[in-house]
Amino acid sequence: MTEFAQGLATALQPANLAALLGGSVLGVFAGAVPGLSSTVGLALVLPVTFALEPTPALLMMISIYMAAEYGGSITAIAIGVPGSSPALATTFDGYAMTRRGEAGRAFGISLFASMSGGIVGTLLLVAALGPLSRAAIAFGPPEYFALGVFGLAIVANLVGTDPLKGIVSALLGLLAFIVGLDVLTGAPRLTLGTTVLMDGLGLVPMLIGFFAIAEALNGVSGHRENVLGTEGIRGALPAFRDLFRLWRPILRGSAIGGIIGAIPGAGATIASIVAWNEERRVSRTPERFGTGEPAGIAAPEAANNACVGAAMIPLLALGIPGSASAAVLLGGLTVQGVAPGPLLMTEQASLVYALYAGFIVAVVFMLGVGRLGIPLWVRVVSLRPRILMPLVVGISLIGAFVLRGNLADAWFALFFGLVGFLMLRRGYPLAPAVLGLILGPMVETNYRRALALSSGSHTVFLESPISLVLIGLAVISFAAPALRSRLRLGRGGA
């Protein structure tokens, strides 16, 4: 406890506080701007951290990471465009609430859930660094494969009324992921003989194309439903009672984020989608999900912020970055002469405790910056779509370019925008395609890796208890909607 108090004292020194505050503001911005993300935010400040002492450098980076995971929800709720991929699930209910005129309430729920998730993730990090890091490396190819299959099973009943259209959309996403160099052989696939397609089409261009450009096209062609007027927006924040009633979804979301976030390579996007789906599964009113259900914002937002603390588990305990953002963080740590790994806790205990305390302070700053920002977000929502959407498209395209400094990404975004627009017009949901793009590589490469290691025997997928449970959950998830409507029909007939 005294170590923690010392850590807190360190985190509260003026220079460190300034770093944490600066990081929070930058993080919210990086998270909210489509195309930018926690990873880009971290990469952009990496040169700045060179000039800082190790502690403020580290604290600045973790507060960017934390705040960016919240920031993504602002755009998701305001205009239905995920500011970064972990906010994808937040668009389902967040944007629906905004269209109902309850933007203020949705912003409040997201901020509160993000804060709670951030704290739970930090507590997990502090309390279970050792055991969780050992559990994380138990995840081998069969387990990753099963996790991916579980994620894909969610797709069938993700959004919309027609499961078949959801599956078609997911298949399009799977087709898109194939483009690029095959991880296991290095052979180019569907690259049409060009180098431009060699690194794949990319998640960010897809998010920007589908959600910013396709929606804008929809608006221009007069098909955008529910054009908002200024008078329709209520900036009113939710009452505390309203928030505390959501403790269950927040806790469940945080737990899911905490576990999935600790597994290297799984990530916040998968965690938040799983959290949203689990919340709907346990809900007594699952049909309300996707139409502006508060729990549908609380669970995924708690999950993606819980992932931040959890992603530090493999990083600090093993020196292994669990996410793209953690990889940039590792680079920053290396330059500062901090080497994460099994000895970090014994050799640099004071820095680790300052980091733990820093996480808590970062969450507080995120809350402050977020709270002060809400009236501003509400005003953005109130802008006419005619003005707002072109602005969003412009900023997004710049964001897509900044990510890799590659103009091709802007073209990919335009391509996805066109595809997304056509899909929207014909009633195909877009989120399953995004999941297909994220989960496809996880499923395919780990399937092939597992078989390479088992000499071609498929029983490996059933021998591991973790993979068995996940595949079981996948079957339940996949069959649930059909079973539910069956049951309902049965009751109706009786």
Partner: protein
Amino acid sequence: MIVARAWLRCFAVSAVLILGACGPATGEAPFPNRAIEIVSWATPGGPSDLLARALADAAPDHFEGQRVTVMTRQGGAGAAGMQYLKGRAGDPHVLGVFTASGTVNMATGRIPFAPGDFTPILRIQVDPFLVAVREDSPFRTLDDLIEAARARPGEVSMSGFGAASAHFLGFQRLRAAAGDPDIRWIAYEGSGDAVVAALGGHTDAVHTNYNIVREHLRAGTMRVLAVALPLTALSDTPTYLDGGYDLTPVHWRGVVGPPGLAPEVRADLRERLLATIRTAGFEEYMARAAMEYAVMEDSDAFGAWIAEEVDTSRALLGRLGLLMNE
């Protein structure tokens, strides 16, 4: 009028920067007369990106105080960044960090570039490959692992970064020297992921670099069976040569310029970079990142080294049936 012309020039320069077409007319002012760009096509935060940033941090003092910035140009397995660098022919204000991965990508035919598309300046560091196992592994030496693979073909697995990558070819060189035992290469998206696979017991060993496993070696959670080159930090560890394998596959990184740099310009750049990598700040980076200096000061020798690496890789890929364009 002067103001207008200045604006016009400003506009022209930024237009040129944006288009990446070509540098402004040389000869107007002595080099360096504006900011230096270091093009980075590597993963942000990864070893090559960190080298670019450490150079950018230490360089200004040796470039007349000009700003030195890292410009990210990712995509196309490095092709986007290389294309940019190649397009700035004759302009010494643009540099690139070139690595073993670049030569392998040239060798496979994945990217349409050849060593002659750039001006070699100097090699800075080597990052030797090594074979590591979890502390409780039955393998005590490299020979144990190779013997096991001979006794049980296809049952010994080795994780590592990428397929047809520098790491993969480093491993294949070792395997070929050992008489092609059937060791299964399990490719991962990153070096960290490959280490996790070995730590979690999913693969028998990992083929990687020192900096990735340093902390696990210090903590005793992993052991190194053999390292390609003697490393000061691993003085007790046998090298491949000690094990009877006469080869030294290394990952390496250096600096190249755009094509068409005049010899005197190249010599000037080399002197400035040599001074840069001997500053205290850069030396500190080298130590922290667990990198060893292996400076090749002779630009022509460095160029020959790059060409030789491409040839060696191409021969090996051909033997493995992994060449793309033939």
